[in-house]
């Protein structure tokens, strides 16, 4: 009984149905488009962060507490023990030590504060060779040499082959300086990283700091699914603690304050867009249905007079709204996926502030970019039909019949 009138009204009032479906589908498609865009941006940023930090890093608990004395470093014995534990985890592909120095680089009259990252050139866990755009990357046999960012090179007018003086402090607090030749220039997605970060062999970093210790271990995981990282980190933390090591892990997203802030920003923007579109769809459909139900008041009076109860009429009208919601939202998904495919095929690019290269914009379609807009549109449409349906079903029969 409940489906005859809603179905007939949807199918036979074609213009109104098409208008409503078009509005709902537009809202759904736009939501899907925006969510897909943010989804792609998040993934790209996540990948760049993993490129910068590795999947996860292990260091002493005090290091993560941001203490900067040498007690926070891992001595060779601790590092070896931790390496053995990490290597035994089935999801770990490889690991590598790192040691960071804070210091100054000087060339002629130019001086800049930098963070010199000492790493093992050619390691499997996190090598920066693919970032090098000029000169060459550090190689395992290099005992000296530095790779600097393009932005730093531009600021200090440096070229491959130039010599920089790197000044830092030793473990005991004394100044230490060394002239180092630039062997390569790298590019990265962030101008800030390019200006601040330089790469040196870890042996050089240790000799400048006068220590054999390392600061952290970068771990590369097998799983492509970045969301599994924290689970593996927890497992490693437990195993390391069981071995008596005061070593803890941090995942790539925990290490990147920028990423967390950006994701929060994206989520806020999407929430706002989805809310705005939902409100728009809500009020337009509310208006369309209110007018439509008003036109059909006599029809409602008739079916009530024939014995249809209030709640039965309310249910029928809600089903009509539900039908519009489902048709419109599904059409919106089809339109949104189509638009995304066209957008991705065209290949629009844009250079965000603070980045060094234009990035290709894309719409990433996943399960959540489809079901979330679908759910939002269906909910907004059904909610928008509640009020006119309630009003229509609560009218007195005799009053409804009087309306021509």
């Amino acid at each position: 009984m409940g489906l005859l009138l809603p179905l007939r009204n949807l199918l036979r009032n074609r213009r109104r149905t098409l208008l409503s479906v078009a509005i709902i589908s537009l809202g759904t498609a736009l939501s899907l488009f925006v969510l897909g865009f943010f989804g792609d941006s998040k993934t790209s940023i996540a990948e760049s962060q993993v490129q910068q930090f590795g999947n996860l890093q292990l260091a002493s608990e005090r290091f993560w507490d941001e203490s900067d004395d040498d007690e926070v470093l891992l001595n060779p014995a601790e590092f070896q023990q931790a390496t053995a534990i990490v290597a035994s985890h089935p999801e770990v592909v490889s690991s590598t030590p790192q040691l960071t120095l804070s210091g100054l680089v000087a060339a002629g009259t130019e001086t800049r504060a930098v963070s010199a990252l000492g790493y093992v050139p050619g390691n499997d866990a996190l090598d920066y060779a693919n970032l090098v755009v000029s000169g060459r990357a550090l190689e395992p046999d290099d005992v000296a040499g530095m790779v600097v960012g393009q932005s730093l090179a531009d600021q200090m007018v440096l070229e491959v082959g130039d010599v920089l003086t790197l000044t830092t402090t030793t473990s005991s607090g004394a100044f230490n300086a060394l002239p180092i030749r630039i062997i390569g220039i790298y590019r990265f997605s962030s101008e800030q990283v390019e200006s601040r970060q330089v790469f040196v062999p870890i042996a050089l970093a240790q000799s400048l700091r006068v220590t054999r210790d390392v600061e952290r271990m970068v771990v590369r995981l097998r799983d492509e699914d970045l969301s599994a990282t924290s689970l593996i980190r927890d497992e490693l933390d437990r195993e390391l603690a069981a071995a008596g090591l005061t070593v803890q892990g941090r995942t790539w997203d925990e290490l990147s304050v920028f990423y967390e802030q950006l994701i929060g920003f994206f989520d806020t923007i999407f929430g706002f867009v989805a809310l705005a579109l939902s409100i728009l769809v809500f009020f337009i459909i509310l208006q369309v249905l209110t007018l439509s139900f008003l036109e059909r008041t006599r029809e409602f009076g008739t079916v009530r007079a024939l014995g249809t109860k209030r709640h039965e009429l309310f249910r029928m009208l809600l089903l009509e709204g539900g039908g519009l919601a489902v048709f419109g939202s599904l059409a919106g998904v089809v339109v949104g996926v189509g638009l995304a495919a066209i957008f991705n095929a065209v290949g629009v690019s844009w250079q965000p502030p603070g980045t060094v290269e234009p990035q290709t914009l894309a719409i990433r379609l996943t399960g959540s970019t489809v079901w979330l807009p679908l759910l939002i549109s269906i909910t907004a449409t059904i909610l928008s039909s509640v009020f006119p349906a309630a009003r229509a079903s609560r009218m007195q029969v005799v009053d409804a019949l009087r309306i021509v």
């Binding site: 009138l5 024939l306 014995g307 109860k309």
Partner: protein, 250 residues
Amino acid sequence: METSGRFCYEQGNVFLEASSLSKVYRMGATEVHALRGVDFQAHQGDFVVINGPSGSGKTSLLNQLALIDRPSSGEVYVEGTPTGSLAEGRLAEIRKAKIGLIFQTFNLVPVLSAMENVEYPLLLQRIPRNDRRKRVLEMLTEVGLADLANRRPDQLSGGQRQRVAIARALVTEPKMVLADEPTANLDSETGARIMDQMSKLNEQHCVVFVVVTHDPAVSKYGSRHVQIHDGELIEPKREEAVYGIAPSSA
């Protein structure tokens, strides 16, 4: 559904009764008394024609009898049950089960075909599909519209629409049919045919018909004639008005 007409005239078999029925409409500070203490009874098999000029209270009375409006005072009894205190849902149940309605402007649902319009009350009664379709086709055949079953109201003439409305009112085999100016929007020939059909159904199905009209041509079909004027009912003595002039014996 075939019933002997004689059964319908058994005394005391009151289907519908209105007692001291009043209806007052308030228009700002003004009160309009549409019905003033109306007493009315309809027995099974009655074909009651209520005549009266425009604004006399005919439609107001019919709305009360059809349980689609509530009186300001007084009571409507259906088969002895007072309806004044019943909830809206219960009134809908009574309308669905016992009352067929025919409107002056047909009031067919525009998006439904003739067949679906007639089928709708049976859907409300949750009659199984096969039985439902059979009864709808029988009823449409009875009103001569079987071949137009799939047409929508806007594809039918006024007379055809009214016959669909009659079929819709009768398909549930109601005990009473209330008709509001059933011929008002029809030409005289079509109106006569419609009234012949209603009269025939009254005889064959023993259904109470209460027809309000100001069309003198409709009056000849009544077994009882009631006048309404300024919200008051004027009825000849029952024994004179009813039992002598049933249409079947006219």
